[in-house]
């Protein structure tokens, strides 16, 4: 494993000047889900972050080829 990981990132809220953002992302090896969220510095609190379509603990280490999706937490009534 190299020093960098390539992941796919999907941000379902305004990010990097777009209404939503999708694309490849390189992150340092050893990055956790929580670390990635901190690095993204998104303006909204209390977001859902999914790793390959599932909630995972914040301390989960990312792997090459992972897909991370950041979404607004919401529910119907």
């Amino acid at each position: 494993m190299g020093d960098r990981l390539s992941i796919r990132l999907e941000v379902y809220l305004p990010f990097r000047g777009r209404r939503m953002w999708r694309g490849a992302e390189e992150v340092p090896a050893g990055t956790t889900l929580a670390g990635l969220l901190d690095a993204l510095a998104l303006p909204e609190p209390d977001l859902a972050i999914l790793l390959n379509g599932r909630h995972r603990p914040p301390e989960t280490l990312l792997s090459d080829g992972d897909e991370v999706a950041v979404l607004r937490q919401s529910e119907g009534g």
Binding site: E10, Y12, L13, R19, M20, E44, P45, D46, A48, L50, G53, R54, H55, R56, A69, L71, R72, Q73, S74, E75, G76, G77
Partner: protein, 567 residues
């Protein structure tokens, strides 16, 4: 002194009774279910004169404290065959509580073909003939009743589906602007109201901004202020104000649990067209309302008003479950179409979830084409006029499956699931299976928990906790979204209670009432003939994997059976 109003539609009489001491701490669902358990033979015909329809605002309803005046409608359900509570916003609960009414109990049945309205104000009630309203949709009905009784009245009305006693029929409550769009939708409560010959209930404006008798008004205001501040600063609440419930679609689609094509797939890129973000952007661009209060005083404002490209109102409100069951589930990824469907449902007075589920099953059988907007609009017309297909759809998804030979019906106790496939959102699967309400997500929605929804571990405990908290909120009259601040303002909820009733109550006592309510409801269901075998997710969902996770529902039956075994 709070009262109960009894209406006997068989004799066309009424009486006001003092609230029994045994019901002093009960409101909303806790009261509707308690009255049904105390007064109803569980084996009665749900559409016969011996069933009772109970309407009850919450314990703390009747003021303009945000989101506190929801209404519960309870009866034996013609859809599930068990006890049912169906909960709604709108102003009916607020007005009933202002008139000092803890509940309205409707018994008996008018002679077939005779229709009435009930007009209620403090200490007064009268029944009036309603022949001129028969066959009208809920919007025309509301327009006529507001002309007669004033625009500040609150209405609970049924539409053509309720008149035809369809299982999908709900009771439509008017919002602050008078739209009959806030529906006690689930379980066929509108059919029960129709079976009694009651077209509408008019709850008149008391003439001043009064609130129910309250022992300590300064204490009430002080606690209400803290609660309101917490709501105003909650990020979760801000999200509902901007995107409504519709942004749940992005999350559930990404999780792979979105019902698509009659629950046959859990994810679809086409769903991008009906996300909360897309909805908010379109509404703003067209000049509609992305935030709107469904009841007077609500600060959460998760409701919205969808308008057409010319800015003309089409429907209120576009909700996640509706967008899914009448959209993705039918392979219709078009907000303008879903808005038309929503307006049809509101005017017919029917449950968008059960109707979307029924149409999805009909599409699986080939009786309707997937993705065909015109065919769906035509089907609504058939429900309105009562053709054979219309009546079949009006009977609900489970009946459609039985008649048309479709095994893949996503229902529990005859009630279709909402927009969370239990093969992925397993906590909701536990709620669907174990709630005495049938497959009703509002009984305990687990989607907000940041847990691995695909892992069956821990989902029984999660569902149990949320079922109890949801029952607490239903009992108090608060919207389920107030749960976002319930934990941080528990002291204020207790304070509001103490201010209103002059007595203290602990969290444990409130939870005990909620748990006891659920246990009574289960006992009712057992006596009605709904045994433990009905507390199950359909077998096909345990064996047919759902793409993309190839997941099945795999919470063990033994765990489901133990959910209410301990305190």
């Amino acid at each position: 002194m709070e009262q109960i109003l009894r209406l006997d539609m068989g004799t066309l009489t009424h009486r006001f009774e003092p609230l029994p001491e045994a019901y002093a701490l009960l409101g909303g669902r806790a009261l509707t279910s308690r009255i049904l358990c105390d007064e109803l033979d569980p084996t009665v015909d749900a559409l016969g004169p011996n069933n009772k329809l109970v309407l009850a605002p919450g314990l703390l309803s009747g003021s303009i404290v945000s989101s506190s005046s929801r209404i519960s409608a309870g009866a034996k359900s013609p859809l599930t065959g068990g006890i049912k509570e169906s909960n709604s916003g709108g102003n009916t609960g607020w007005r009933l509580a202002q008139h000092g009414l803890r509940a309205v109990i409707i018994d008996g049945a008018a002679p077939v073909g005779q229709w009435f309205i009930a007009v209620i104000s403090r200490g007064e009630c009268r029944l009036e003939a309603a022949g001129d309203l028969v066959g009208l949709g809920t919007y025309d009905t509301a327009t006529r009743l507001f002309e007669r009784f004033g625009a500040k009245s609150a209405l609970a009305v049924i539409g053509p589906a309720g008149e035809q006693r369809m299982n999908v029929a709900g009771i439509c409550n008017t919002d602050p602007e008078g739209r009959p769009s806030r529906i006690c939708a689930r379980g066929g409560m509108g059919a029960v109201m129709g079976s009694k010959g009651l077209k509408a209930i008019v709850v008149r404006d008391p003439g001043a901004n009064i609130m129910p008798d309250t022992i300590d008004l300064p204490m009430w205001r002080e606690n209400a202020k803290v609660y309101a501040k917490e709501l105003a600063t909650s990020p979760a609440i801000a999200r509902y104000r901007n995107f409504g419930t519709a942004s749940t679609l992005e999350l559930v689609n990404k999780l792979g649990g979105l019902p698509i094509r009659n629950f046959s797939r859990g994810q679809d890129a086409q769903a991008e067209a009906i996300t909360g973000l897309q909805m908010a952007e379109t509404i703003k661009a067209r000049g509609g309302q992305t935030s709107h209060s469904c009841m007077t005083g609500c600060a959460i404002q998760c409701s919205n008003v969808w308008v057409d490209p010319q800015g003309k109102e089409v429907a209120s409100s576009m909700e996640f479950e509706t967008n899914t069951l009448l959209g993705a589930n039918l392979e219709i990824f078009d907000f303008d179409a879903i808005a038309r469907f929503t307006k049809e449902c509101n005017d017919l007075g029917i449950d968008t979830i059960e109707t979307g589920g029924a149409m999805g099953v009909a599409m699986a059988a080939g009786a309707l084409p997937y993705g065909d907007v015109a065919a769906v609009i035509d089907a609504f017309g058939q429900i309105r006029t009562g053709t054979v297909l219309g009546k079949l759809l009006g009977a609900g998804a489970a009946t459609v499956g039985r008649v048309l030979g479709v095994r893949e019906v996503a229902s529990v106790k005859g009630q279709v699931m909402a927009a969370y496939d239990p093969r992925v959102i397993k906590g909701n699967g536990v709620t669907y299976a174990t709630s005495p309400m049938g497959a009703d997500h509002t009984a305990g929605n687990t989607i907000g928990a940041k847990v691995d929804h695909l892992d069956p571990q821990g989902k029984v405990a999660l569902s149990r906790e949320l079922q109890i908290v949801s029952t607490v909120l239903d009992m108090l009259g608060f919207c389920v979204f107030a749960r976002a601040v319930y934990a941080t303002t528990a002291e204020q909820f207790r304070g509001l209670f103490a201010a209103r009733f002059g007595r203290s109550i602990t969290d444990d006592e409130i939870r005990a009432i909620a748990t006891e309510t659920i246990r009574r409801e289960i006992a009712f269901n057992r006596a009605a003939g709904l045994g433990p075998a009905t507390d199950r997710i359909p077998e096909w969902m345990r064996t047919t994997p759902l793409r993309p996770h190839e997941a099945v529902f795999d919470v063990p039956d033994e765990e489901l059976d133990r959910i209410w075994a301990t305190d």
